[in-house]
């Protein structure tokens, strides 16, 4: 199997090393002036696409990101890792916090119509909303098979064998192409963006679009009511034996 076109999605999120602070209005977290980078699961998605291209299974990698103008930096990182060209679906700054999986899935289904890829690879979930929905919604919209939480992907004639990480352990499935898959952390070890590739990436094209031009209504269907810090960790109790432990758990209504 060769010559496939892959569409990979990536999202610009708050960097995972940053200490998150809740906004004073309790409707979200502070993003101004905070370091952002590519969603870690999306790095796995791009890495998988690049490896498939090195194995000559894939011929072209198109990377797409929905977000404010700074999302272009994320697309550039993907291009530096080995994607061929980018698509930036621009959403006004400030509204991107409300860009929800349903809207993103709709945007991607329009991109699929336009680009006609054989395979879509997304990250399993974004580390800001932890939704884990876009892949599934997109597969449903396209009526394509889905292979989510992929930790191993191998290609053979017209289909992919995927190992999925599920609650019960590992599950092997086979999906026929075209398909949508989502990358898990253990799928691969993403490569560094090397300086030569960063420089080469500057010459690669990024096409700009808007949800309007794609005919997608991105109005949020879910409303965030309140965002709060998790409760401060309380000190625990030491108990002398198991009987006391069971008593205490019953007392607190945990058993």
């Amino acid at each position: 199997m060769s010559g496939l076109r892959v569409l990979v999605g990536c999202k610009r999120v708050i960097d995972y090393a940053v200490k998150i602070r809740v906004r004073p209005d309790s409707l979200g977290v502070v993003t101004d002036g905070v370091k952002h980078s590519m969603n870690p699961f999306d790095e796995n998605a791009i890495e998988e696409a690049v490896r498939m291209k090195q194995k000559k299974v894939v011929k072209e990698i198109v990377v797409a990101s929905c977000g404010p103008s700074q999302s272009q930096e994320t697309i550039r990182t993907a291009l530096a890792m080995g994607a061929d060209r980018g698509i930036h679906v621009e959403v006004p700054a400030g509204t991107d916090a409300n860009l929800q999986p349903l809207a993103v899935a709709k945007i991607f289904s329009k991109l699929v119509e336009k680009e006609k890829p054989d395979l879509v690879i997304l990250g399993k979930q974004a580390i800001d909303d932890d939704a884990n929905q876009t892949t599934q919604l997109l597969a449903g919209m396209l009526d394509w098979p889905q292979g989510t939480m992929a930790s191993v992907v191998s290609a053979s004639d017209g289909s992919l064998t995927i190992t999925r990480e599920i609650d019960g352990g590992l599950e092997d499935i086979s999906v026929s192409l075209p398909a949508v898959i989502s990358a898990d952390l253990r799928l691969n070890e993403p490569r560094y963006a090397t300086l030569p590739n960063i420089m080469k990436a500057k010459k690669k094209k990024i096409e700009k679009m808007t949800p309007d031009k794609l005919g997608v209504d991105i109005t949020p269907r879910l409303k965030i009511l309140n965002v709060v810090d998790p409760p401060v960790r309380q000190a625990g109790d030491k108990v002398p034996d198991v009987t006391t432990l069971v008593e205490k758990l019953k007392e607190k209504g945990h058993l």
Binding site: K35, S37, L185, A193
Partner: protein, 408 residues
């Protein structure tokens, strides 16, 4: 060719959760950089945090020269930053080099410093070499197939570099080299040397640069020096005993060697100053977290105004030093008339002030600052030598004074 990360994602999470970086503040190294430059910094910092930082302390204790890791950095382009793309390099300006070396030094000052030395030698050959020399040596240096060392200092001459006595006598189609070089970084583990030798009379005009393969017969090394820092870089005396070097290995013209050396050191001073920046930046990030976590007299250390003021001073030193280092780099890139003096100023200012920042950070750690299990002492030890090598602070004073007085 691609370069895989060796560190697993879960251990990376553990590492980062122990040190949140202060990225959006008065001391942010990204401020003033273009998007491209930020990408270069991110690439270097990523490598530093994943490949260097987790090993920095072990390498210091075992004194291992991490050749594998250093060669892996070449896959990212760190072998020939300033060299022409015709020879595997990236032709980056010195300013971008400063940004990159600062980021690498946040992971390990010693490894980053070695990479600066390797780059200085590669750039010297690219700038002053013939086509034949460039084609023979630069691609291997850019890919780090071969590693390089730079030989100027001798047991009898450091600051007074022009007084060097290692001589190269021309005999037919060869130079016969005799003498010793001291304090050579990487010696014994590197493949290629650029050596300053005396081919003519006394003084700077009698010095010529030779490119010498380390497998040439007659080269021997002294015992590896025991140092207080830069431990994961071997430092030795290199002895030349009737070493035969073909005349075609002359780099530049006869008598031009001293110019080459001074030229190389301008960039070298920016690089070393940049390594001090990385050390101080990491020390500050660590101590900001430490003074938040550590409690004394029923409050975190950073509730004390003295501690707050100390941190503010340290941050101000770092940001100021960064400004002069980057300005010196820009001046060198633009070949401005003040470039040499500015490079001297930036090394003088940055290495001296930022060592004190590391020292303050150590003090703020209290007893823990004295333990080898905390990185701050290693940044302190490693950056101490920056005030000495590639031109002592005293020589930097000389250069600046000379520039001030030359018009009188």
């Amino acid at each position: 060719m691609f370069c895989l990360r060796s560190c697993s994602r879960s251990s990376l999470f553990k590492l980062l959760s122990n040190s949140r970086s202060i990225s959006s503040s008065c001391v942010d190294p990204n401020v003033g950089l273009t998007t491209d430059e930020i990408e270069y910094r991110d690439a270097a910092l990523n490598f530093a945090k994943t490949e260097l930082a987790p090993n920095m302390q072990t390498w210091d204790l075992t004194e291992e020269f991490p050749v594998d890791t250093i060669k892996r950095s070449a896959d990212l382009g760190f072998g020939g930053l300033f060299v022409s793309p015709d020879y595997g390099g990236l032709s980056l300006p010195r300013h971008d080099g400063s940004v990159i070396f600062e980021a690498l030094s946040q992971g390990c000052v010693t490894t980053a410093s070695y990479i600066t030395i390797h780059n200085m030698v590669n750039a010297m050959i690219d700038t002053f070499g013939t086509e034949v020399q460039k084609e023979r040596y630069c691609p291997d240096l850019s890919s780090m197939e071969k590693l390089a060392s730079y030989c100027l200092t001798e047991p009898g001459s450091g600051s007074d570099a022009a007084a060097l006595v290692t001589n190269a006598k021309k005999e037919g189609s060869k130079y016969i080299v005799n003498g010793s070089k001291a304090f050579i970084s990487g010696a014994g583990a590197t493949d290629l040397l650029v050596v300053m030798t005396r081919t003519g009379g006394k003084g700077p005009k009698g010095v010529s640069a030779l490119i010498i393969d380390t497998d040439t017969p007659g080269i021997s090394y002294g015992q590896k020096e025991k140092k207080i820092g830069w431990n994961n870089q071997p430092t030795c005396v290199v002895n030349f005993d009737d070493v035969e070097v073909p005349c075609e290995n002359l780099l530049g013209a006869e008598g031009q060697g001293f110019n080459l050396a001074m030229h190389g050191l301008n960039g070298g001073r920016i690089n070393i100053a940049s390594c001090s920046l990385g050390a101080a930046q990491q020390c500050l990030e660590d101590v900001v977290q430490y003074t938040h976590d550590r409690k004394a007299f029923n409050q975190p250390l950073n509730a004390n105004q003295h501690v707050q003021f100390k941190l503010a001073e340290m941050a101000t030193e770092i940001t100021t030093a960064r400004l002069i280092v980057r300005q010196a780099a820009r001046s060198l890139d633009a070949k401005e008339p003040n470039a040499v003096a500015l490079c001297a100023m930036c090394k003088l200012y940055a290495t001296e002030r930022l060592f004190k920042v590391c020292d303050d950070a150590l003090q703020l750690h209290g007893g823990y600052g004295y333990l080898k299990s905390y990185p701050v002492q290693q940044f302190w030890r490693d950056s101490r030598v920056h005030r000495i090598l590639e031109g002592t602070s005293e020589v930097m004073h000389m250069l600046v004074a000379r520039d001030l007085l030359k018009h009188l």
